[in-house]
Amino acid sequence: MSRARSSNLARALLAAALLAGLGTFAACAHQDSNAAPDQTPAAADDGRVGYVRMDDLVKVHPLYAQLAHLDEDMQALQLKAVGSSVAQNGADIAKAEKELQHELDVAADQTKKALADKQQDYMKREQAAINAAVGAAAGAGPGGGGIAGSILANARKQQQQAAELAQKNYDAYRNQVAAQSDAAARSLQQSLAAEASRTYRAKAEALSKAEADYALQQETDDASERLSLRTKLSNLALDDDTRADVRKQLDALDQKEADELAAMKNRDSATLADLQKQLHDQVQTQLDAQVGDLRKRTLAKLNERMLETRRGLVAQLGAPAAGGGAAIPNGIGPDMKAKLQALHDQYQAQFNADAAQTIAQFQKTRADLTDRFRRIAGVDAGAQAGANKQLGALQKQRGELYDEMVAQIGREVKAVAQKRGVNVVISDVVAPAGGVDLTADAEKDIESLHE
């Protein structure tokens, strides 16, 4: 904010520099003229000096309606640019982002709950199937199903606790590795961009210095010729033809230097544009390659940790632990174990397919919301830039139209002045006194342009 203010001020100072400075010419001269305020003004008499009210003349010009229309468009654009649907302000964007974040959180919670519900459901169904299978194997003996159920329930509880703990540890590890990976990718990106920026700046500065050196060299080479011509021109008694001839030579010299320097600058601009593109491509390629490697390493770490966790669980519980399947206890016959394993695999596959569908839905929702995030974040800069561009184009159009109108008015005023024998006509007078007001006559002439 402060920087922007600083830059704005600097720009304003730069723009005002010349005019402000020239204003000081007047300031000093004014002191001189103020020294003798009661002296009677001489020279121009009221038969020779006239004035026009340019605002009034512009209003009767045939193109005024067009100018007024442009003014209205600009005013409307200025109002809209900070107000309504063209661009949202920071608070609006923050609010919209908060709403989207809330939607994303809700979707994530719903997905998590749906997955947990499905897991419970599949576990129950698998457990029921295992109970039925074990009960059938226990055969005719009373309470066979109940015994099997009790054994399996204990085993399942142990497995669930161990799996939860393992999952928790794994999640913590995954978050830590992901954060490290993100930080490394960001750092890499910054480092590559900074390096490219340094290279570009160095080249730009070198070219700029070479241009300055070249300009200086040109100046030095032509100094004696220029000095000679300038000396001639400084002589106010020089006759008009000689003056024009000398000025022509001087202009040719200036033009030659300007053309040569402009050619050099064009070449340098092209060089810089090529370099910029080359650096951009280079940074992108390096970034893609290195971030790809980084991701591969991260994934490998996570897979390794996952396998390690599974191995630990299998060693601890002696049964498959993944996917929330029901427990298959140790100490049962190989046939039954194979049967139960087949049952587990079947339910695990069904659960995986169902869960994959739920996750895919969540990912789609997340992608949609991410798109909306981007649109909202981009709308401010995009719309503001668009509005500014449009405003700039309108201002340019207005300036050109106004200049065209003033030039035409000038021609009409000149004709009127000639008719009235007025030598000098000034516009934008603060107040008339004794000068000849040519506005009414000029208005008539300008109005006749409508016909």
Partner: protein, 270 residues
């Protein structure tokens, strides 16, 4: 060696200009008035000014980098503002150093040319529609020529063109109060219009909001500003007539000479 040559050249030029200043009026007065004008845009294109502009732009780019580095990590708004102010001061100082001598030189050149052509006033080219003497090229020649322009020995003759410093007139309490009131009104209207634009559903609604906004501003201007503008114009015209002036222009359009009637006008308006 070089200094000595420049010095001799300057003295020679001074003598020439002095001679011309005393001869010029007789030859020029026959077919031209004593009103001259300068194209300030052309002056800004002379090598000394473009070079100074380039140096200032380089300095500013350097300052921008320093500022970005210094302000990085500073979260306190007051500290940020203080640092920004320091950098602005540095830029302003550099600007004065670079442009001050150039402006002074240009001022002398304009005065010298005006004096040699017996002009009582030099104004900005933009306000001259017909006639007047274009002294731009003579001023540019003096500025780009060897040596420094020689200041004229005489002060500008009394001019029939007067000028007022509008900023001083605007500072008169009753005018300032009216202007501040209008600015506040405009800001309020703008806020209201923006709020209405947000809720406007159709293009016709939006057009109406804009129309109402423009109409409110025009009414307020007509009601409060226009009478004061008329009063001011009338005061300026009255003073100008008393002082025997033909026209009065704003100081921002004046470059040299002219008759300052600002204090008479402010007294008349108080």
């Amino acid at each position: 060696m070089r200094i000595s040559f420049t010095h001799r050249l300057a003295v020679a030029l001074g003598a020439t200009l002095f001679g011309l200043a005393s001869l010029a009026p007789a030859t020029l007065a026959a077919d031209v008035t004593d009103i001259g004008y300068v194209d300030q845009a052309a002056l800004s294109n002379i090598p000394q000014f473009t070079s100074a502009n380039r140096q200032l732009a380089d300095f500013k780019a350097q300052l921008d980098r320093q500022f970005a580095s210094e302000v990085r990590g500073v979260k306190d708004a007051n500290t940020q503002a203080r640092i920004a102010q320091e950098f602005q001061n540095k830029l302003a100082t550099r600007q004065r150093d670079l442009f001050g001598p150039l402006f002074q030189r240009a001022q002398v050149a304009i005065a010298s040319v005006a004096s040699s052509k017996n002009l009582s006033v030099v104004v900005d080219k933009r306000i001259v529609i017909v006639g007047g003497q274009d002294v731009t090229s003579s001023v540019v020649d003096l500025l780009t020529g060897p040596g420094d322009p020689i200041p004229p020995v005489n002060t500008p003759p009394p001019s029939s063109v007067g000028y007022v410093d509008q900023t001083q007139i605007d500072a008169i309490p009753k005018l300032k109060a009216a202007n501040d009131d209008f600015q506040k009104f405009q800001a309020d209207q703008q806020t209201q219009a923006q709020a209405k634009l947000k809720s406007a559903k159709t293009d016709a609604d939006r057009q109406q909001v804009l129309k109402d906004y423009q109409s409110a501003l025009a009414d307020k201007q007509k009601q409060e500003i226009a009478p004061l503008v008329d009063q001011t114009r009338s005061a300026i015209a009255g003073v100008a007539k008393k002082r025997g002036l033909l026209l009065v222009i704003d100081r921002s359009n004046l470059i040299y000479g002219g008759t300052d009637i600002t204090s008479d006008v402010t007294s008349a308006l108080k």
